[in-house]
């Protein structure tokens, strides 16, 4: 089996339009959540979110591209540009033929659905733009990345709600580890912050009206975000030979299915995914210094996740750090694991643990070191990134410091 490293990272999210700005915001514990701004927001009960601001897509893409790029594709392409530029890879010849792109998204072109339903239902129009379908389809972002960078190997989109990105990156990891692909572009994106996208979530009554406070006793729900995180996963020797800068190693992963409830999380399913990732990476529980939690800020997730961590790690659960950066960038749904992987890279490479901000009151059911409110300097060798989706589908990645 090959070893897999990350040689490029890119992002657009509420904390920044690139990796450097995003990590700086995480180090400072800055909150990217604020009042939502879009048509009909006054008809929503939930009016806050981690909205990407000041992202001027018109300047980045031409008219023809704009007619084909939903906002989730725009975010993806901007993040992919940053990641692939950092990697230094140029895809041609065999590298092009064997390398592909696997991305996660839960909703795909939600704002394209929303705008066109508005047009035909509310405005009564009987004609829509011819590119509605190629713009909204869930694989549009992956397809445009493949076209832009000449990626002709295995390429597709994974959709498992809040675990989409982690499942996508797990697929990419497997392909590189098995020797099937020398490099894979992977990650995910989401853009649901439009009237219909937020209204749908509102219906579940799990959304907070004021803040995302994971693990805090007074937490009152999740807050949506939007954006993309894109990475270049590369076979270690391939990266070494060309002298690429290696951000960290992807050491293992595991997936599990709760097979129990369509929305309620399961301690057992989460624990099996974390334990599976440790086994796959061949690391002991005691080596894990940090977990980037799923940490949605709902009553159910946070206590279940903490109980699962206690089950898997035993006494070591009290020594490791666990934080939820959703408190800062919101829950990017299908793109969330990708943006959260940045916090894992920062922990391994820079020795900085991103905090859980908005933390106000300890909860005995979440009695772990959640790195409250302020980032912490700490040297860690192995980290986990958790994603536990609606539908009971879980995916956990294990990453290791590259030395």
């Amino acid at each position: 089996m090959k070893r897999v490293v990350i040689t490029g990272a890119g992002t657009v999210n509420a904390l920044g339009h690139n990796v450097a700005d995003t990590l700086e915001a995480m180090r400072e514990g800055r909150c990217g959540i604020g009042p939502l701004e879009f048509q009909d927001v006054d008809r929503l009960a939930i009016r806050i979110g981690g909205q990407v601001r000041g992202f001027e897509a018109e300047g980045l893409y031409n008219r023809q591209q704009m007619s084909l790029y939903d906002r989730f594709t725009q975010f993806t392409l901007a993040a992919a540009k940053e990641a692939i530029a950092q990697s230094g890879l140029i895809f041609s010849g065999t590298l092009s033929a064997k390398s592909g792109v696997v991305l996660g998204t839960a909703g795909g072109g939600v704002s394209t659905w929303d705008a066109n339903y508005r047009s035909v239902y509310e405005e009564g129009k009987n004609r829509v733009h011819p590119f509605v379908v190629p713009k909204l389809m869930n694989n549009a972002a992956a397809s445009h990345v493949s076209m832009e960078y000449n990626l002709k190997g295995p390429s597709f989109t994974v959709s498992t709600a809040c675990a989409s990105s982690n499942h996508a990156m797990a697929q990419a990891f497997q392909m590189v580890r098995s020797g099937m692909a020398p490099a894979m572009v992977t990650g995910g994106s989401e853009s649901m912050l439009c009237f219909g996208g937020v209204k749908a979530w509102e219906g579940l009554r799990v959304m907070s009206r004021d803040a995302c406070r994971p693990f805090s006793a007074n937490r009152n729900g999740m807050v949506q975000g939007e954006g993309a995180g894109i990475f270049v996963f590369e076979e270690m020797e391939h990266a070494r030979k060309r002298g690429a800068e290696i951000l960290c190693e992807v050491a293992g992963f595991a997936m599990s299915s709760d097979a129990s409830d369509i929305v309620m999380p399961s301690k057992n399913g989460a624990a099996r995914a974390m334990a599976g990732a440790l086994a796959d990476a061949q690391v002991n529980a005691g080596e894990v210094g940090y977990i980037n939690a799923h940490g949605t800020g709902t009553a159910a997730n946070d206590k279940t996740e903490c109980a699962a961590v206690a089950d898997v790690f035993g006494q070591h659960a009290d020594k490791l750090m666990i934080s939820s950066t959703k408190s800062m960038h919101g829950h990017l749904i299908g793109g969330t694991g990708a943006v959260e992987l940045l916090a894992c890279i920062m922990a391994l490479r820079d020795g900085v643990i991103a905090p859980t901000i908005g933390y106000e009151e300890p909860d005995p059911e979440c009695a772990l070191d959640v790195v409250p409110n302020e980032a912490r300097d700490a040297s860690v060798d192995v980290v986990l990134s958790n994603a536990f989706a609606f539908g009971g589908m879980n995916a956990v990645l294990a990453l290791r410091k590259f030395a």
């Binding site: 008219r63 023809q64 007619s67 004609r127 733009h129 011819p130 590119f131």
Partner: protein, 88 residues
């Protein structure tokens, strides 16, 4: 603007050209408009003139709408406008 000028403006925008570069005997192919660009042009024409163009992208030659040149498109639109005026 006349029908001709409006059609030329739509096609020029699609081809990323100046309207002065588009003549009545230009073909869409010679202007570099591909199949997606053609479908988008038909959409723009329907929106502009409030008509329904009988165009099927599966087989453009079978459609009852001649897209061989700018002149044939203008003539087709004028015919459709006259036909569909009464039905609106």
């Amino acid at each position: 603007m006349s029908v001709k000028d409006k059609v030329i403006a739509i096609i020029a925008e699609q081809a990323v050209l100046e309207p002065s570069d588009v003549t009545m005997d230009s073909t869409l192919e010679s202007l570099g408009i591909d199949s997606l660009g053609l479908v988008e042009s038909i959409f723009a024409i329907e929106e502009e003139f409030d008509i329904s163009v009988p165009f099927n992208a599966n087989d453009p030659s079978e459609s009852d709408f001649d897209i061989s040149t700018v002149a044939s498109i203008v003539a087709g639109i004028e015919k459709l406008m006259a036909e569909q005026k009464d039905t609106v």
